[in-house]
Symmetry: C2
Subunit: 200 residues, 2 copies
Amino acid sequence: MRVIVAEDQGMLRGALSALLDLEEDIEVVGQAANGEQALDMIQSLKPDLCIMDIEMPKLTGLDVAENIKQNNMACRVVILTTFSRSGYFQRAMKAGVHGYLLKDAPIQELSEALRKVEQGGRAISPELALQFWEAENPLTSKEQDILKLIAQGLSAGEMAKQLFLSSGTIRNYVSEILQKLEAKNRIDAIAIAEKNGWLS
Amino acid sequence: MRVIVAEDQGMLRGALSALLDLEEDIEVVGQAANGEQALDMIQSLKPDLCIMDIEMPKLTGLDVAENIKQNNMACRVVILTTFSRSGYFQRAMKAGVHGYLLKDAPIQELSEALRKVEQGGRAISPELALQFWEAENPLTSKEQDILKLIAQGLSAGEMAKQLFLSSGTIRNYVSEILQKLEAKNRIDAIAIAEKNGWLS
DNA sequence: AATTTCGGATGACAAATGTCATTCTCGGTT
DNA sequence: AACCGAGAATGACATTTGTCATCCGAAATT
């Protein structure tokens, strides 16, 4: 199978590409250091499969996966990421990726996952799916929006202007968020949400 | 040369080990998934060189490097990390590491760095050293202590109790920090300090 | 149809944050 | 010896945060 590797970390990109190329049934036809390069290569080289990091410059791996789906491109995506975050996972599933692996896993799992996906299967750890199901986000979508703005350091007044609400309303949302996350202040809330994958 | 690879990400640890083993003059004699394992292996296997990540469970790579130096062990350390953070770099230099590479670099740089270090040299990118020299931390050591407590979500009152100072003093320190970092609030200050490697 | 629940929205008030002026001590400079 | 600058320390005051009570509308339940 023809494969490209999209990973901004040079060490990992090079190492994975070299190792996968040693496998008889795998040919690494391209390596991308950012999402834009990945998309270009997918369009021009038409690989069967792409190993895709998430957090990359220019376009994220999820941006690319969504683009592939929207344009009905015949390239299967296997996400390979450091972050076991619920938000990333959900977005990846919606984008129709065929695999979702963490970089924590042993290297052997990668080629096994590629073969599984090539044969029409999916390669997603059941433990991951369960972990994300359990860590369900307790916040409403409006509260999640507010939390993102909190994490960007905006004051209640600034958020009020941006969302066309009053400062009192924003402060009430903030208070609700603190109570739901059992956080004692905004900094604590940010840390808890990031740890649980509710901020991305 | 006999080498161990200490890296908590299974994919990278496996891939690097496999590739380095392919080199004629390099033998990977052990792989560690955390700092404690790394230290145990260094003590029992006595490798010539260790490739060491920084952020690992149990003991950090820097903890291990400091231990090696304190106990005069004949194992040279090459740090391999994602984070180009000033604090990590300075601590690594103090611990006497022989190399400091970022995972961004091409895979070829790794084996070149290992050979350089084996021959008694050091493998540290001049660009890195310059970047850290330029991004000098503007905070006094007391302010850095306060910033760490801010990042942990403590209130001024809590910090006051912990440091045996008054709440007014703490608030003044916080204000000084915000002015020096040109931050508009604590959340902003945390983000700026993390970006510049002044929080670790 | 009536009632209940939940999310969205707001402001009063207490608590915390951030700014500013002030004082003190110590080390460096003249 | 005298002076200056920087860091450490503090409290008054203005601003912002966080809590709480309240109201409204829509959807779900009875």
